[in-house]
């Protein structure tokens, strides 16, 4: 027990990085994902082509590689970001691509008649999107969105590759220094707590959204 209290401060310091990457990625990738999903329906071929290329690259290469490219690769080309910022950029553009595909599916599931009804009642396109379509999309995408959020909790551990000290790295250091598996167990437990919190929040939002069908 006393051993746990000695390693806990360094784990919590790592946790701060983990949570920072987690929350900033959510905040950045959700609006970007919505924009990208709308761009996929653009009447302009060039925009659709660019967006499809972007999604292909983001989903077609490992996030680990994208992290390396944005931090080391762009750094070598003279576009240098600090480690944390590089990690946030990589995570946001990667997750936005996955979320865009999820939102696109959600947008497609809203029946055409909803747009017709809104139009006949005189709603502008922006009002139609925000007041009528988006709430229905949100309800449709919550389960798959939740999956991505839980993946993100664990994916944050990839930031070690560009030298950021997240919770897994803190556990790793303690484990090799003290030749014990205890830090790993503790780290695993903390990940489980984080995913449990996310799961509970998602369940609650599903319950709230189930007041209508």
């Amino acid at each position: 027990m006393s051993y746990l209290t000695t390693i806990l401060p360094s784990l919590l310091a790592g946790l701060k990085t983990t949570l920072g990457v987690f929350f900033l990625t959510i905040i950045g990738s959700v609006p970007l994902g919505i924009l990208v999903s709308l761009g996929m329906k653009s009447p302009y071929f060039t925009i659709r082509w660019l967006i499809n290329g972007y999604i292909w690259i983001m989903r077609g290469t490992p996030l680990l590689l994208q992290l390396i490219f944005i931090y080391y690769g762009l750094g070598m080309m003279g576009i240098a970001f600090p480690r944390f910022e590089a990690a946030i950029i990589a995570f946001i553009i990667n997750y936005a691509a996955y979320l865009a595909e999820i939102f696109r599916g959600g947008l497609q599931s809203v029946p055409r008649g909803q747009y017709d009804a809104a139009k006949v009642l005189g709603f502008s396109k922006i009002q139609t999107f925000f007041k009528i379509i988006l709430p229905q999309v949100v309800k449709i995408v919550v389960p798959s969105f939740g999956n991505e959020v839980i993946n993100l909790v664990k994916d944050t551990s990839l930031v070690y590759v560009i030298g950021l000290g997240d919770i897994l790295r803190a556990g790793n250091i303690a484990a090799s220094r003290d030749v014990t598996l205890m830090p790993y167990l503790l780290v695993g437990l903390i990940y489980l707590i984080m995913t449990a919190v996310v799961t509970l929040l998602l369940r609650r939002s599903e319950t709230v959204l189930n007041t209508w069908r």
Binding site: G113, A117, K119, V120, L121, G122, P135, Q136, W212
Partner: protein, 212 residues
């Protein structure tokens, strides 16, 4: 008064109707009948601004309705075949959403007006239910109230009795007659000939009176 003059609609080479002329007088109930798939719904979609026409004009109270640009004004209210209520809003919110956001009415005034409409349709006790909690006939009356809240000059129904049993069909007929007494001009697309004869002042046969 609504005047449709020489209206033509084609999909590529496929002529849906040609040089269609039709006049609907104020306060009149006009039924447009004919078998499915001959373009009745296309006609009211053009009137409501959801489809474009290739030629001709539609004039409502002396003003031309844009039939080329798909731009929609709220002069023609529409009751869709499957109602298209917004599932994420309660009945009263479905009704007040457009008056508040489009007409910039105060929400208290919009709610008051919405409740009056629901009352007149015998739906006041359903105001706080969501669409999924309503029967087919109730959904339809909610849709009628939603359209009327925008004070359209004409109310257009697309197949209002499809999927309704006889009792509900009679209720729709009652609603149409009630609205007629209040002076609402109504255009009803239907393939239900007995219903059309029961409610309307005039029946327009789309199968025989339209050129193709």
């Amino acid at each position: 008064m609504l005047e449709i003059k020489n209206l033509t609609k084609k999909y590529d080479q496929n002529v849906i109707f040609k040089s269609l002329n039709l006049t609907v007088h104020d306060g009149e109930v006009l039924s447009i009948v004919g078998p499915s798939g001959i373009g009745k719904t296309t006609l009211i979609k053009i009137m409501a601004g959801l489809e474009t026409a290739d030629d001709g004009e539609i004039i409502l109270n002396g003003e031309n309705i844009d039939i080329k640009g798909e731009s929609s004004d709220t002069n023609i209210g529409m009751i869709f075949q499957d109602f298209n209520l917004f599932p994420n809003y309660t009945v009263i919110d479905n009704i007040t959403l457009a008056p508040i956001n489009v007409n910039k009415q105060s929400s208290s005034k919009a709610v008051e007006q919405g409740q009056e409409l629901l009352e007149s349709l015998g739906m006041l006790d359903k105001a706080n239910l969501f669409p999924y909690q309503l029967s087919g006939g109730q959904k339809q009356r909610a849709a009628i109230a939603r359209a009327l809240a925008m004070n359209p000059k004409i109310l257009a129904y697309d197949e209002p009795t499809s999927g309704l049993d006889e009792a509900s069909t009679h209720q729709v007929a009652d609603v149409v007659k009630t609205l007629k007494k209040r002076g609402v001009t109504q255009v009803i697309i239907t393939h239900d000939q007995p219903f059309a004869e029961m409610v309307s002042d005039r029946v327009f046969d789309f199968a025989t009176e339209v050129k193709r």
